[in-house]
Chain length 249, copies 2
DNA sequence: CGTTATTTGTGCGTATGTATT
DNA sequence: AAATACATACGCACAAATAAC
């Protein structure tokens, strides 16, 4: 059988993507049965194998679970945005299905604490505040602080120039091509906090609600700090997932 | 084509398991290239598709990465992903300077959610609740759920037999010597929550305070769940720190 | 610089097994 | 017992990336 020529995205990825967004949008609520392989194959005009390939990806993402003889069921709890994170690459690819909306554009600011954590001599940093959205629902507010000489690399970037701008960028993704030394590591600290009034307003929750706080310090291979980001996540829409593996000896 | 009759573990799982163990044992270090699909198919006397199926699992686990035209390469390096409190070893050695105090001893319980996450058919689990103390200050409450056949390994253990018992043990450390398959991986989910009244009483904080919630599902190398632990941490006394590294190629 | 061999990626057909309804 | 639905396995054809010549 011939194969479609020069197709950009594979058929199974199209199917997986549509089902994934449908589940996240709540078309299939928690535990609801999805169409069968045969039905989906018929609908998308692909073979059953291609549908299976798509389902296999969704299973390993934890989006659905399957029971032989019964069917395939949505596994998302409360529409929570889940993502497996375990490397800097994962952080950089955060933009594939989330949007960034600028709240406060990139500007000069005095911040002793941030400057100290960036190993700067002076107290001046440049910072930008943005929300991150998934399916138009905000789930995170992030403040990014940069040393002045790093911020200079972003002067022309429209993604961080004015409030309200929406893009699918990440700061680290914008920076990376311009850096001589690539970003090679990040130190993360994860804790819980109560939402401040302004935070609650931006995220659409109540003051005092429990939120997840993640601080990240990105560094080059030579341990030079490049970016400090402080993010507050809504726990209803986000949880941080990691897979740990033991080396057998 | 005929299929082998009544095979217990699927052929692709056998292949995946052997490759996984070989990588974790260091047979394929660093970015060493693995045998090609054709070679492995020949070696295991299976079709190329079956080898591909195995590789697909290993890719989604992050064990290997593949490059079209070049080959398949081992992706696990020593301490590549997570340091500090980030590896399974660190979780097991959590007891070095903390004490465990039993709140509710190990007992049989019905918990549909926990049973589901442990991939059990029935709804019965065995669970134990304990506080973790550092310098006599409680900073964490943990509920551990075990499948019945695993809990049976702890029947004689005094560390979990009665409320009030204080020891420097960890559940995983108590279990590990008795398991046929060693614990090789864990899936973690980290989020924030508000302290319930009982939680607040045990931890010495106020109801509604923001606490860090960490769920861990420990599994053997064959993906069999062994233990589910749900912990609530006081953010003042604990933050989860991870160092992420980028794999430069 | 093109050609060729190697290697992984995609897509589909077929057959059969197993679990559920 | 039969129908339904997912699971496994193999085969084939062709595409695309890479490397060697």
């Amino acid at each position: 059988m011939p194969v479609r020529a020069a197709e950009q995205t594979a058929a199974y990825q199209v199917v997986a993507r549509e089902l994934r967004t449908a589940i996240l949008r709540g078309t299939y609520r928690d535990g609801v049965r999805l169409p069968t392989e045969a039905e989906l194959a018929d609908h998308y005009r692909v073979s059953r194998q291609t549908v299976r390939r798509a389902f296999h990806d969704l299973v390993s993402e934890g989006m659905v679970y399957r029971v032989p003889g019964r069917g395939t069921f949505a596994a998302v709890r409360d529409g929570q945005y889940l993502r497996q994170i375990g490397s800097v690459e994962d952080l950089m690819s955060l933009s594939v299905d989330t949007m960034m909306e600028v709240v406060t554009p990139l500007q000069r600011r005095v911040d002793v604490d941030a400057a100290g954590r960036l190993h700067l001599g002076a107290d001046v940093v440049h910072s930008v505040v943005f929300r991150r959205l998934h399916d138009d629902v905000p789930f995170c507010i992030t403040t990014v602080c940069l040393p002045p000489h790093i911020a200079a690399l972003l002067v022309g970037a429209p993604e961080v120039a004015s409030a309200g701008t929406v893009s699918d960028a990440t700061i680290i993704g914008l920076l990376d091509p311009h850096l001589t030394d690539p970003i090679a590591q990040a130190e993360q600290s994860i804790t819980a906090a109560a939402a401040s009034p302004s935070l609650a307003a931006s995220l659409g929750c109540n003051t005092g609600d429990a939120v997840l706080r993640i601080d990240r310090l990105y560094m080059t291979i030579t341990d030079v700090p490049v970016e400090l980001s402080i993010s507050y996540f809504l726990p209803e829409h986000y949880s941080y997932r990691v897979r740990l593996r033991r080396t057998l000896r």
